[in-house]
Amino acid sequence: MTGERHISIMGLPSSGKTTFLAALWHMIRETGANTELSFDQLSEGNYEHLNALARRWRFGLIQQRTQVSGARAVTMRLKDTDGRKAEVSFPDLPGEDFSHMWERRELDKGMLETLKAPLVVLMINGDTIRMPAWVAEWTTLAKKMGSKPANKEIVEWKAEVAPTQVKVVDLLQMLMSGDLKIGGRRLALLISAWDKVEGEGLTPAQVLQSKLPLLNQYLQSGRDPWTWEVWGISAQGGQYEDPDKDENFAETEKLRDLERASDRIKVIEEACISSDITKPLKWLIG
């Protein structure tokens, strides 16, 4: 684990990419934090963006949407428990860039380098997975409940209404073909907003199987050379407040009351729960 490593963080809009970066930057610099990867030293880069994200995260405020004009390069110098060092860069790309790849079938040339990173973090918001639902089943259900289906205006097809799993599978296929094809890659699949998902008592692998079965099959099949693992992650631990809406939640207050800010973080790997947000990155870097 030495040298420069480029990790691409990908995900559709509101998948939690920026919150992940905020929590990561806070945790690796938190005094006394016990993590598989830790902060090594500052480099020449500008840390204003990362510091602002971490500050907002500590306050318990939701992150602002990542600006839609290009990537912000974020670089961290990390070391593992054996003292081996690596410089890890994460371009903080807006989720819209990824949804445009599915919807418009094009890619901004500026994203090319980012998307060719051999190490990929793919985030999927576990709370907003859009699953396919069929008219036939709804009609039968409505009939049983004695209600008549409302006559609504038919919605024309557009790519954005596709189920989450279809969009994500195509995104991964794109990374394995054409100009983006670089051969085998490592993929850390993070199901975010785990605090909203955990009530169902499923492991991350079970969530993948039950809520994203198409994606699960694609990865399991091994058609494309992904080496992958799945984690559940709650980078906030619960609901954060939106200052623009003057929100005040008891849940956020509870999170602020925790001894260490990093105690808010939950990282789930099979049945193991920890607050070490660097685990997926350590697995990626090897």
Binding site: M101, R105, E106, L107, D108, K109, G110, L112, P132, A133, W134, V135, A136, E137, W138, T139, T140, K143, P149, N151, K152, E153, I154, V155, W157, A159, V161, A162, P163, Q165, V166, V169, D170, Q173, M174, S177, G178, D179, Q209, P213, L214, Q217, Y218, Q220, S221, G222, R223, D224
Partner: protein, 341 residues
């Protein structure tokens, strides 16, 4: 070279009209005289050559159903099976294509896993009008345009013991296939049928249950196969799946026993007539995109058909001429189906 004109900046001078300097200077020596280059005059907006902007985006694969050329290219990548879907219009070809993809949206099917697809946009398009998000009240699929070149839907399927197989399902208008009944030479254009490993003939269950339409279905369906074989459009030894579609409509009909008999009769007559040309003939009953799920489950029977598509063809040499190909009676297919009883 730039052309130059002379102008005078003295407001009292009439040089522009009489060509003389008001102060009596020789024109070349006048301090008010300026040369005006034509290069300095901005060109009219419309004559300006548009700037060629450097390309800032990279086009990604369209994700739409494939044409013939792209299908051929993909077929070289893996072991593949080409499926030729035939049947009159409204037999449910597009619904079946959508139904196969929708099955994988729910999970692996009898050990067959979704492994990828180059036509996800195409699949999503044909699935839309059976989805709640469309706000439609009764599932529907768009009709394939008559006379258009066929397109191909692509699915990579992985099976534990077998590995990866690419499946290509053709989609052409049912009217085009019916036209071969009127003029056999029409069948020459059906290249997707000639290259098929498994022809899948769809029989409209809803129409077979309808007393007014059933005889038309019984007459025209075998005629399509007759015409294709007569024209040499189906290759020797090709497997034939005969599929009764719209099982939900059959189940809701009071004529379902009659539909069983009619369908079994159809399968038997096609098997008898073409035993020398075809490989195995097998029948299926599906509810790929039912209107409701009271008597059937969504996608019922489609997984069995998919597994059949994935099977390899029997080598032509081992097909014994004159022997009837095997087929199952519809009643045998339904013995373990609770809903039918």
């Amino acid at each position: 070279m730039a052309t130059q004109q002379l102008t005078c900046d003295n407001a009292d001078c009439n040089f522009a009209s009489d060509g003389k300097c008001v102060e009596g200077y020789e024109i070349r020596e006048c301090p008010h005289m300026e040369s005006l280059s034509l290069d300095d005059i901005p060109e009219a907006e419309e004559s300006r050559t548009p700037l060629v902007k450097p390309e800032t985006t990279i086009a990604l694969a369209s994700g739409e159903a494939l044409d013939r050329v792209d299908t051929s290219l993909l077929q070289r990548r893996n072991v593949s099976r080409s499926i030729g879907l035939i049947g009159p219009n409204d037999a449910g070809k597009t619904s079946l294509i959508a139904g196969v993809f929708d099955l994988f949206q729910m999970g692996a099917q009898a050990g067959a896993q979704f492994a990828g697809s180059s036509t996800l946009i195409g699949f999503e398009r044909v699935c839309h009008l059976a989805r709640v998000v469309s706000q439609i009240s009764v599932p529907h699929t768009e009709r394939t345009s008559r006379g258009a070149e066929p397109t191909f839907f692509h699915l990579d399927v992985h099976q534990e013991q077998i590995g990866l197989i690419s499946v290509f399902i053709s989609d052409r208008s049912g009217e085009d296939y019916l036209a071969a009944n009127d003029q056999i030479s029409q069948a020459d254009q059906f290249f997707e049928i000639r290259r098929a490993d498994c022809i899948t003939l769809l029989v409209n269950g809803a129409q077979l249950a309808d007393s007014k339409l059933r005889h038309e279905v019984k007459a025209t369906t075998p005629q399509i196969v007759d015409a294709l074989i007569e024209a040499g459009a189906i290759r020797r030894g090709c497997r034939l799946a005969i599929v009764l579609t719209k099982k939900d409509s059959v189940m809701a009909s009071t004529n379902r026993d009659r539909v069983e008999r009619d369908f079994d009769g159809l399968v038997a007559s096609i098997s008898r007539a073409h035993s020398a040309s075809l490989g195995e003939v097998k029948s299926f009953v599906v509810a790929a995109s039912p209107k409701e799920t009271e008597h059937v489950t969504k996608g019922e029977g489609v997984a069995d058909l998919l597994l059949y598509w994935l099977q390899p063809n029997i080598p032509v040499a081992s097909i014994s001429v004159g022997e009837f190909p095997e087929f199952e009676r519809m009643i045998d297919l339904l013995t373990d189906t609770e809903g039918w009883k």
